[in-house]
């Protein structure tokens, strides 16, 4: 059983790395990019019986800092 966690900076929190990527894409001629946000993907291998609620608790306590980041969970 696996879970995939996406961690992104919240809207309204400046993402300087995403901005740098956007500038680079613009400089390369990709002129249709209006914004870039960069985040993290964390894949978890889980033992039988682990639930989405368990993963949510992991996100709240460690995987994301909810002061600045939001997260979403995909159970796969």
């Amino acid at each position: 059983m696996k879970a995939r966690v996406h961690v992104m900076l919240k809207n309204g929190v400046l993402d300087p790395q995403g901005e740098a990527v956007r500038h680079a894409l613009g400089a390369m001629g990709f002129d249709k990019v209006e914004g870039v946000r960069q985040g993290k993907v964390i894949d978890l291998d889980l033992a039988e019986g682990a639930t989405e609620a368990d993963v949510a608790e992991m996100c709240e306590k460690l995987l994301a800092n909810t002061v600045i980041e939001s997260y979403s969970i995909e159970m796969v």
């Binding site: 929190v13 400046l14 300087p16 790395q17 306590k61 995987l63 800092n65 002061v67």
Partner: protein
């Protein structure tokens, strides 16, 4: 007067912080991240700069979950004193002892130089050796020093006179130019600049000495 300095894998300012405490008259014990208790009778805990756990996941995130950090949280909750510098500040925000978070510098560059800091309040055991409005030169050395908190939290910090230091010329994009903040009970200070690196003539400046001297005065009179 007893100080404990926490050492994580990747700490690199632990000895500098210990020397600054010793010069001010503290007995210093180094404590390892796997220890789950602080030495008996510790008056203040120092959480040093560096790259604890390689800055993996987020700066300070894994250190904040270490056994010793639970002891530091308990110490702070009991009203104990603590100072977190640089990575130590990041760790204290990750534990929730201090509000907000430290983001990547707005200019994306690691910055290592002495900057001017304005002392915003002398009303704390860390800053009473200064006068509000003093401008002091203290080194910064960080990649993730861009202090962020939501507008409500920043307003509360300002209303409660809990901004200890601010940048005269903001180097990293920190909200409201914030360089260091105090906990609600004013007994925990977190700051990105390094006062322990401006505490000896050989450092090229001694503007940081007053932080440690004031602390020593506090503990002896308490």
């Amino acid at each position: 007067m007893k100080a404990a300095v926490v050492v994580f894998p990747g700490s690199n300012c632990d000895r500098d912080l210990a020397v600054a405490f010793e010069r001010a008259g503290f007995d210093v014990t180094m404590v390892w991240h796997k220890d789950s208790v602080l030495p008996e009778g510790v008056d203040i805990v120092g959480v040093p700069g560096g790259f604890s756990y390689g800055d993996y996941l987020r700066c300070g995130a894994i250190a904040a979950q270490s056994p010793i950090c639970q002891a530091v949280v308990d110490h702070a909750n009991r009203g104990g004193y603590a100072i977190g510098v640089c990575n130590g500040f990041q760790i204290l925000t990750e534990t929730g002892i201090l509000p907000g978070a430290l983001l990547r510098n707005a200019g994306l560059k690691y910055i290592c130089r002495t900057v001017d800091l304005k002392v915003e309040t002398s009303s704390s055991v860390f800053t009473e050796g200064y006068s509000a409005g003093d401008v002091i030169g203290i080194p910064i050395a960080h990649h993730d020093g861009n202090y962020f908190a939501d507008a409500e939290t920043v307003a509360a910090l300002q209303d409660q006179d809990r901004v200890a230091f601010s940048y005269v010329d903001n180097p990293n994009g920190s909200v409201a130019d914030i360089a260091g903040i105090l906990s609600e009970n004013r007994r925990v200070l977190g700051m990105m600049p390094h006062p322990e690196r401006a505490a000896d003539e050989g450092h090229g400046g001694t503007d940081g000495t007053a932080v440690f001297r004031a602390l020593a005065g506090m503990v002896t009179t308490a």
